[in-house]
Symmetry: none
Subunit: 201 residues, 4 copies
């Protein structure tokens, strides 16, 4: 009787996910919408259809939950890079194109901006473990984008990579205070122009 209703795959409902996953998913949704400081552990437990105790058994503390949340975001970004390489193996040019459209989707879809950037802003304590995760990801992202640019054959890969990063980050924050029709709407146009300038003509 114990094991049966566990049933991770028997019925296709969402509730069947293990508590840990449900908590993480609920936390992510709520953190993104209301900010980390804006939601309490109780609200997360409720949204995950469980209780605080389960949350503490799985994560130890809210901070650890935040870390897990950030890691899950990082993991998703990793998946995107993996898919980029899988879909266009070795082809930097196509990867750059794909990266661009992913970036645009990213800007357009999420009005709350980059989860990592907003979290970095909320995590004011410099020694918060979450900050390191974010910083590592940003370093990693930079490295990958530079590599991508180099493979695409541009003249100054690291400069282009950083420029694209600034444009993307800028577009995502700008969307929040200036709206979707503000400067962020020009991201694609500008990014393409910049890339063109770095490509050998």
């Amino acid at each position: 009787m114990v094991a049966l209703q566990e049933s991770t795959m028997i019925d296709g409902e969402a509730q069947v996910r293990r508590p840990r996953e449900r908590i993480l998913a609920a936390a992510r949704e709520l953190f993104r919408r209301h900010g980390i400081h804006g939601v309490g552990v109780e609200a997360i437990a409720d949204a995950a259809k469980t209780n605080k105790m389960a949350l503490y058994r799985h994560f130890g503390s809210k901070d650890e939950l935040v870390v897990a949340y950030l890691q899950s975001v990082v993991g998703e970004v990793d998946d995107i890079w993996t898919a980029l390489e899988r879909d266009h193996p070795g082809d930097g040019r196509k990867q750059l194109k794909a990266w661009l459209s992913l970036a645009e989707v990213c800007i357009a879809s999420d009005e709350r901006g980059c989860e990592l950037a907003t979290s970095a802003i909320e995590l004011t304590a410099k020694d918060h473990p979450g900050r390191k995760i974010i910083e590592d990801l940003k370093v990693d992202h930079r490295k990958r984008l530079v590599t991508l640019c180099r493979r695409a054959g541009v003249s100054q890969p690291s400069v282009l990579a950083d420029t694209l990063t600034l444009l993307l980050e800028g577009a995502r924050v700008s969307r929040q205070s200036a709206g979707a029709k503000g400067p962020s709407a020009k991201f694609m146009k500008t990014a393409k122009a910049v890339i063109t300038n770095f490509l050998p003509h």
Copy 2:
């Protein structure tokens, strides 16, 4: 030079300023360092060498204090634009140059990023009065920068203005999670390159 009873400089202490100013200054400092949610009214009152009652007499609520804080930032930005026009009247080219160095100072000096942008992230409630202030400022800023670019004689003023905005905003957020030596370090170089491309050769 104007007013003796102002006594802002007679004794170098902060206490001589009126409570309202002290509170606003303390709030600004603390909000910037720890975020809006990260400081309580009591800490602000303490930092302003007064007490909560004085704070509530002058601002009515924390939200109103936040609004006043945002408005003071907006006022400062206004002053910058005014100075820009005053120092280089009618000369768009020089104003653009000055804007650029101001932007760089802005990025370099403040590790916590744009106070308005970070506040926008913390103010998750869409109907918070502070949001409107921020949005208005961003709209205003965009208009001013477009005008500046047009006067500088660039080919597509609004595109350049938005691009510069994205780069600046991106640099300021990037600094927080990727550090001063991350992509934000390339802001100047990239911005100049972009401007060059828009200038008639």
Copy 3:
């Protein structure tokens, strides 16, 4: 006769009353509407178009103000009794009749009940100086009503007086929770019937 600089009659406005009176009047109005615990000294000072300092200079503390407030109510009740004797000197029968209509007006006009009774309820501390004032007034009122009844020539003056007191007090409290159309509406009818029974036929 007292004060020339008082200027009580120079301009006919209400503001010309001395601060003490204004404060007392404001306190009375606010206490009656919101209860003693329901208003702060600042609100009273504001309503009296003055400030807290004046209030504290004149009354020393909120408690003393409450005492003064209760005494002013007592004084008004005294005036009513005085008027009763003045208007119908020696005529107990007419005084009783007049008392009855005053009581009815009292019930009908004031939806918040007897200021003394409600204050007694709010002043839970048994040693509050205000309580004594209230109790003294009630004792005094009883004595007067008994005298009045005796003069009216009823058979058991003290019993009738207490009965009428109960009916009046009951009507005033009942009005608050049961409304004007509740039991309090029957006050007059019942009181008259009771009186009739005590009168020699």
Copy 4:
């Protein structure tokens, strides 16, 4: 195993009751003694040997606790009426007599007066949910007393019922400001006389 740890009466201590009950009991006691505004939630939680959070888990807010408190009083009054009918089924005369002695006990035992009446006085906000509870109870009480009087065979049931209500309410408030030896001491005598007058001789 199920029933044992319930143990409502095994040891006579108060702790064994569930927190909700303890909180409600503590609130009732404190509200009655010091008034609703006179006690804070912390004091209630302490008196109930629990903490504020438990209070808020069970009642949501102090206002809700007040409502629950008033409802518990109403429930008790209901029980009294039920017992009245159970003990003297159909016998209006005996019920009236029983009602009278209950009223006297009520006056004599509780020096703080009717909990509902005093609460009505403290709840100055006309839209407070507690007010409706009180008003409903008063309406209900009136209806029941009229019915009782009719069954007792008096000449004008509704007039007698309201008269008795006024006398009782008056006695209860009078006790607070005029003491137990004031007019309230005459309640029984007066009530009996009134009833006699309404009975067919």
